[in-house]
Amino acid sequence: MRRSISLYSLTFSLPLLIWQVLFFVFPLLFLIALSFWTVRNFVMSPDFDPVNWTTMYGRAVFWQAYGTTLALAAAAAALTSILAFPAAYAIAFKLSDTARRWAIFLMVIPFFTSYLVRVYSWQIFLSDNGIINVILGWLGLGPFTMLNTVGATMVGYLTLGFPLVVLLQLFSLIFIDRTLIEAAHNLRCGRLRTVFEVVIPSARTGLVIAALFSFILSFGDFVSPVYLGGGEPTTLSILITDTTKSGQQWPRAAVVALTMIGTLMIVAFGAIKFAYRGKST
């Protein structure tokens, strides 16, 4: 066996490591330090005072926002995964190779359009005089208030996560060993049962990672809750912008930020552990 540490191995492993330590670990460590700084007369000064932590954690508003954000992100991850799976499944198994290439190409297109523009576009659909209400009006229904609701926020989260989740699910489905599925069918395993007992377990890693990405994107997003949800209920990301704006309270914003990071780390490690459970490598 060849030596592990050589010029060759370091050439590939070190650049990203150095970059992420310098520009990812250090900024986050600095954020921790920042959370202990104090603000007097709108001026920040280095300090070691837990006052920011006790202030933020003592507020009911903070815990409400925390619960809301967690629930919304979990709902978005579940909803996106459930809605994306039939599409990914159909693209993987029901389309010809050429059609599948087109499907993948089309699903990549949203990545080349601005998320902000798409959110603005949803406002055109969902507003009180928007496209959907005009169409419903022709049918003698409505108008319904859709903009500035939790449902609209969810539409925004779907816009953000759906294409990525479909692609990740698709890539894990494409590489399932087809002989497994044929074997199941030969053993007279029904269609739906094959999906739940062969396809989904085989693709588990990709499916869980896809759901995780949806959760992460929704958890930290501040565009959908503000511009589609109308800023109500308050999420942690909105809390950060508000806290930052209110008179240089960056240390308090850092407390919210660090709490979010801690939560995400727990969720991510849990999900990855579950995704790779029982695999040798």
Binding site: P15, L16, L31, F112, T113, F125, G220
Partner: protein, 273 residues
């Protein structure tokens, strides 16, 4: 793969699934199509029925020098970020594929975690940190921050491809006398080529679309998405649609050009052989 007959074929289910694909794409493309249509529509507050055809919003955007600055910044940042992220992401993916070492968990965590940190937090941390070391407020700071976010995507894409490779392939090349570098050049890189280009496009796209971190650290060198965020925060106007459509057509042209170049080159090598 096309001949794989499956016993449980059912026409109704197949049609339902195809209809579902159509619905999924309708959902994804509805906002994109609407933004395109309403960028030519005269109404200040867009809805149906449509108003008159107009190019006013494009004119308003084209005469705004700040928009042009933003476009140039976005493009430069995106290309540089895409290249750096893909190269480093490939290295990390290969490291994970090939080596076992103490602290590998930590290495992987560092390589993959940044996208799990919400951009709004990263923006705050980056601004605070980069201004401490006098790097904030310019395009370089946007590049630095974007690579942090984009490299993990590149790594994930390449790693997925490597996991499909027969693990005996590389040792086979060594046994046949190839050096590690030659095996890399002739076995690993060709096998990963689709993933490498995929990673390049995806990371560039992520950078093009990223506005929150850029908004925090860019200072006066605003990228185009930051400019759009400004429009969204101020008075809402269909100018957003015009910018969106313009950027969309530009990036799609680039993607299709790249596709054509790639397939053209592989066709040529196939001819030679």
């Amino acid at each position: 793969m096309s001949g794989a007959a499956d016993m449980n074929r059912n026409r109704a289910v197949n049609w339902a699934l195809l209809a579902y694909i159509f619905l999924a794409y309708a959902f994804v493309f509805a906002p994109i199509a609407a933004s395109f249509v309403f960028s030519f529509n005269s109404d200040r507050f867009p809805s149906i029925p449509l108003g008159e055809f107009t190019l006013d919003w494009y004119r308003a955007v084209a005469t705004d020098p700040l928009v042009w600055d933003g476009a140039r910044n976005t493009l430069v940042v995106g290309v540089v970020v895409g290249i750096i992220s893909t190269v480093m992401g490939f290295g990390a993916a290969y490291t994970d594929y090939r080596y076992r070492f103490a602290g590998k968990q930590v290495y992987l965590a560092l390589a993959l975690l940044p996208p799990t940190i919400p951009v709004i937090i990263l923006g705050l941390a980056m601004l605070a940190y980069l201004s401490r070391i006098n790097l904030s407020g310019n395009a370089l700071s946007v590049i630095i921050s974007h690579v942090v976010v984009c490299a993990p995507f590149a790594m994930a894409i390449v790693r997925l491809r490597l996991s499909q490779m027969d693990p005996a392939l590389e040792p086979a090349a060594w046994n046949l006398g190839a050096s590690e570098w030659m095996a890399m050049r002739h076995v690993i890189v060709p096998f990963c080529a689709p993933a490498i280009f995929g990673a390049l496009f995806i990371t560039m796209a992520v950078s093009f679309d990223e506005f929150a971190v850029a908004w925090f650290v860019s200072g006066l060198n605003e990228t185009l998405p930051v400019k759009v965020l400004g429009f969204l925060q101020g008075q809402v106007s269909p100018r957003i649609n015009a910018i969106g459509t313009f950027v969309f057509i530009l990036s799609m042209t680039l993607v299709i050009l790249a596709q054509l170049l790639l397939s053209g080159r592989s066709a040529k090598t196939a001819d030679k052989e």
